[in-house]
Amino acid sequence: MDTTSSYVLEARDLEQRINGPSGPLDILRGISLAVQAGETVAILGASGSGKSTLLGLLAGLDAPSAGEVRLLDQVISELDEDGRAALRAGRVGFVFQSFQLLPALTALENTLLPLELNPTHAAASQAELNQRANEALDRVGLTPRADHYPHQLSGGEQQRVAIARAIVDHPAILFADEPTGNLDGRTGQRIIELLFGLARDPGADAPATALVLVTHDPELAAQCDRVISIQDGVLA
């Protein structure tokens, strides 16, 4: 299982089952997919199709009932919760539909979080980390808002902070869950352009970032290199 693969993400025969009020309920069945480094992949499905659950399993935020996820050459089911966290630190980025910024932290401090959690930066000075966070904010055009708290920012600005946080440590893979779901059309389009631009052009010397985008919007999905459709927990 330790053979190196060209895929940053592979899923094989994934299943997710929960115990509902009327017995066990299959959320996902027989899901297999793979994502190459630098590739942008859309997981397209309607509400309730299981796409966000799939994203959670792929990112190691939850454990599958059956099957295997290999993320960045590590089999996730072989790792405990802490092992999965360590795997994500600095190498996996997230953009959530509801932004998920820490309300008590400023835009800069929210952006700093992945750098502070990544043990490879343990030796770096706070000034260096601040500089990198400021660069990320600069790339999403939010330098003037660095010291603002989330409640002082608009929805679009909050999502841009979330994107800055996602890309600040040049992750190998970036998961985005309905990133425009809480935004108006125009703002959403600008966020998507930003997200794709940053994924495809991670900056000088930075490795390519794969993007896994969960959406119910076929137009948005069509902008990705590849679209995987999901319906009732099964890949279409």
Partner: protein, 838 residues
């Protein structure tokens, strides 16, 4: 509105309330109220019972619920009348008389003839022989027998079974008196006791014209009957008959009980305060979690008032239910307390009255409204725009409104519970200052932490960063934790210090013997004799009997005074004294001592401060006493504060020697005579036949017993306050759990390991606990000093353990409580939390 529509609205309200009850955050609020009311109710029921128990002890000292004393026989018809009120009665008569042994040894004894029903309250204890253990007795000596106190037996060289002659009677000694419950009320019985049956008294031949008999009539029953009988009796009293109530029990004992009640009052006040803190925190949390449904209601057209009333009504309903549960728990808890205290409180505790139940429910509702309302008001003000913008939170709670309502609620409760405006005002002021100082220091400390955000290991960095990043919330928590720790410190350490200081205020070597009637000319010989006996040379004070007859030239008559005690003071003779120097244990608080400053050395009165107040006297007022048929008039030239607990000789009024030293006088002194020297004392006292010794050690023992019981009661009452303190911690940890869960989930998604988050939480709560402990220790020391100084009038010394326990306990306790309250955060998959509602 149709009736069915009304019913459906009520049904909807109740369904809503039921759903609220099942929600975690309201259960925290309800739990806080349950604990709060349980604490207050347990304290209320228990202190009520202890109060009543103590009142019973006071009745034991008084001898009944009420007593009438007179120099003349009291009507037998009173007993029959009392019976119609459902009361038991007993009559006694006391007189001094010389008694003789068969071989003609003689001794002055304080005779007391008692009816068979004696004692009405408390129990008498006797020994069948000197070496035997004491046993309780339910009645006095039978006809033809006598009980003697040990010193009398010793003086007469008698034993149980011997005979003693009392007037014309020849009585068999059947027991040695070891405890006479109402002995304390007859402090000036100057000789050892001989007790005989009331029916034998007439046959003794001792009763005749000129004999100094003190007749007493006691009645006891339930308090309402006693009160009605008292009303009847007041109309029957003739001049020379004096009615005594519980308030006339020994002043020493009364002071002890009043102090005990202050301690108990303080204990219940602490519980009320902590309850308020817990409820405020819980209500804040509740309001935050109601922002979404309230915004939806507002968006759908509900008025702010409707939203507010809906949630306020639900909280109020929950408060009523929680208070009811709290009352039940409190009622049950006080039984446990009572059984624990059974061995210390003599006899069974009486059942509690209904007042604590009403008070408990009132406390629950007032606390709920006073401390929860400011937070709930915010729900009504939530912006309907929140349905579109989740980031739009509740408007901030008005600090002024919260402070004002909390102050009103707590102040009202204080006044109600303490029943002492002075104490209520002091505690309220202390609390307000403490909370203001805590809040300021809390904000300052959180601010001071900011530079540390980027220092130390990652866990510490995250913990500290969390604290300073959540500046306002950290300050609020800091205040809440500080109040909790403050209460615990006050209870655990400052209380013990205060109790020790209190206990120490009656030193082990407090005088236990008063010697009176030392004749003029014998003072030096007496002092010499005492010194030869190996005791410290005593200071003898002159004592002159004088009746107050005029104030500023106007005649003073007992009927001029409404207060019973005032009337009695005027009705009887004062013990006056004269002195060159002010007594060492008194303090001049106004004016100057005779001969000091511009003060004439030969005129003036130095008057005790309480008496000044009682008779509305001022410096310069002219006061006239009749002494030995002669009027002695002088202005008041100084005011003294007297420590009546000191068991030293004290006088209400002192004059300069020139004013009084020609008057008929005797001398008095008080000293501590160790138990081993009591026999020797009887020897040398014979050289001064007119002098008498009064043994006050029995009274001291009784006062100490009452104090000990009160101390234990306070300790157990404080156990409940401790639980209330823990509720504050629980509520505060609960209030931040949602935010922490989300933060922990997000941090884990971003790659933080379990130990990072755990250590971060420990660092955060530990630092919070450390700061709270430090603040609490500082305030506890200040409050202790203030209480000691202002309320209890002790010296208070700084105790380093306050700081060691405060800081150490705060750090460990809050870190542990925080960890226990939030550890589930780490056990959930981050996805479940991140996908849940914000």
């Amino acid at each position: 509105m149709s009736r069915s529509h009304g019913r459906s609205r009520v049904g909807g309200f109740l369904r809503g309330a039921w759903r609220e009850w099942r929600s975690a955050e309201l259960r925290v609020l309800a739990a806080a109220l349950v604990v709060a009311v349980a604490a207050v109710a347990a304290v209320g029921f228990f202190t009520d019972r202890v109060d009543r128990g103590m009142a019973q002890q006071a009745t034991a000292l008084l001898g009944g619920d009420l007593a009438v004393v007179s120099d003349n026989p009291l009507p037998e018809a009173w007993s029959d009348e009392a019976a119609t009120f459902g009361l038991e009665t007993v009559r006694t008569a006391s007189l001094p008389s010389v008694v003789f042994s068969a071989d003609d040894a003689s001794r002055l004894a304080a005779l007391r003839a008692v009816e068979p029903g004696w004692p009405l309250h408390g129990e008498a204890r006797t020994r069948p022989s000197r070496a035997a253990a004491e046993a309780p007795r339910e009645h006095g000596p039978e006809s033809g027998t006598a009980w003697l106190e040990a010193p009398l037996l010793e003086a007469l060289h008698l034993e149980v079974g011997d005979r003693v002659e009392v007037g014309d009677l020849d009585l068999e000694i059947t027991a040695i008196i070891s405890h006479e419950p109402d002995r304390g009320s007859n402090l000036l019985d100057i000789a050892p006791r001989l007790m005989l049956a009331f029916e034998d008294l007439d046959a003794s031949g001792l009763i005749g014209p000129g004999s100094r008999v003190r007749y007493e009539f006691f009645a006891a029953g339930n308090s309402a009957d006693s009160a009605r009988f008292r009303d009847w009796l007041e109309g029957e009293l003739e001049p020379g008959q004096r009615l005594l109530g519980l308030e006339d029990a020994n002043p020493e004992l009364r002071t002890a009980i009043e102090r005990a009640e202050r301690f108990l009052g303080l204990a219940s006040l602490m519980a009320v305060l902590l309850a308020g803190a817990a409820i405020a925190v819980a209500a804040h949390h509740f309001a935050q979690r109601r922002a979404d449904p309230a915004a939806v209601m507002r968006a759908l057209g509900a008025s702010a008032r409707h939203v507010l009333l809906t949630y306020f009504g639900r909280v109020l309903l929950v408060a009523v239910i929680a208070s009811g549960i709290g009352l039940a728990i409190g009622y049950a808890a006080q039984f446990v307390l009572a059984s624990m205290l059974g061995e210390w409180l003599a006899g069974d505790l009486p059942p509690p009255g209904t007042r604590p139940a009403v008070a408990g429910m009132g406390v629950g509702l007032v606390t709920a409204v006073g401390f929860a309302l400011p937070a709930l008001l915010r729900i009504g003000q939530v912006s309907p725009l929140r349905v579109l913008r989740r980031d739009l939170g509740l408007p901030p709670t008005s600090v002024w409104l919260s402070g004002l309502l909390a102050l009103l609620a707590f102040g009202g409760l204080l006044y109600w519970q303490a029943a002492d405006p002075g104490l209520a005002a002091w505690v309220l002021l202390g609390t307000a200052v403490a909370i203001s100082v805590l809040a300021l220091l809390g904000i300052g400390l959180v601010w001071a932490l900011r530079p540390l955000r980027n220092r130390g290991g990652m866990a510490l960095r995250f913990g500290l960063a969390n604290l300073s990043r959540r500046g306002g919330l950290s300050a609020v928590q800091l205040v809440a934790f500080s109040v909790g720790i403050l209460a615990l410190l006050l209870l655990a350490i400052v209380r013990v210090d205060l109790l020790n200081a209190w206990d120490a205020s009656i030193p082990e070597d407090a005088p236990n013997q008063f010697f009176i009637n030392i004749q003029p000319g014998q003072e030096t010989a007496f002092a010499d004799r005492v010194e030869e006996a190996g005791l410290e040379r005593p200071q003898l004070d002159p004592m002159i009997r004088g009746r107050l007859i005029e104030i500023n030239g106007e005649r003073v008559h007992p009927d001029d005074f409404a207060d019973d005690r005032d009337r009695r003071l005027v009705d009887r003779e004062f013990n006056l004294s004269y002195a060159e120097e002010p007594p060492g244990h008194n303090r001049i608080v106004a004016g100057h001592w005779f001969g000091a400053g511009e003060q004439d050395a030969d005129t003036g009165w130095s008057v005790e401060a309480g008496l000044m107040e009682r008779f509305d006297l001022a410096l310069g007022d002219t006061v006239t006493f009749r002494v030995g048929g002669q009027a002695v008039q002088s202005p008041i030239t100084s005011v003294r504060e007297v420590d009546w607990d000191s068991f030293q000789v004290n006088f209400f009024v002192i004059g300069p020697p020139a004013l009084l030293d020609e008057q008929p006088r005797t001398f008095i002194t008080a000293m501590h005579v160790p138990e081993a020297q009591r026999s020797a004392q009887n020897q040398w006292l014979r050289e001064f036949p007119a002098a008498s010794a009064i043994d006050v050690s029995a009274i001291l023992v009784q006062v100490r017993e009452v104090m000990d019981q009160a101390t234990r009661a306070v300790e157990y009452v404080f156990l409940f306050t401790l639980v209330a303190g823990l509720t504050v911690l629980f509520a505060a940890v609960q209030a931040t759990r949602d935010v922490r869960r989300r933060e922990a989930a997000l941090l884990r998604a971003l790659g933080a390991r379990r130990e990072h988050i755990r250590n971060g939480l420990l660092a955060e709560f530990g630092t919070l606990g450390l700061l709270a402990g430090l603040l609490a220790a500082i305030i506890a020391t200040a409050v202790g000093a203030l209480l000691a100084w202002q309320v209890f009038e002790f010296d208070y010394h700084l105790n380093p353990w306050t700081f060691i326990y405060g800081i150490g306990g705060g750090t460990l306790g809050i870190a542990l409580a925080g960890w226990l309250g939030t550890r589930r955060v780490l056990n959930q998959a981050p996805l479940a939390v991140l996908r849940g509602p914000e």
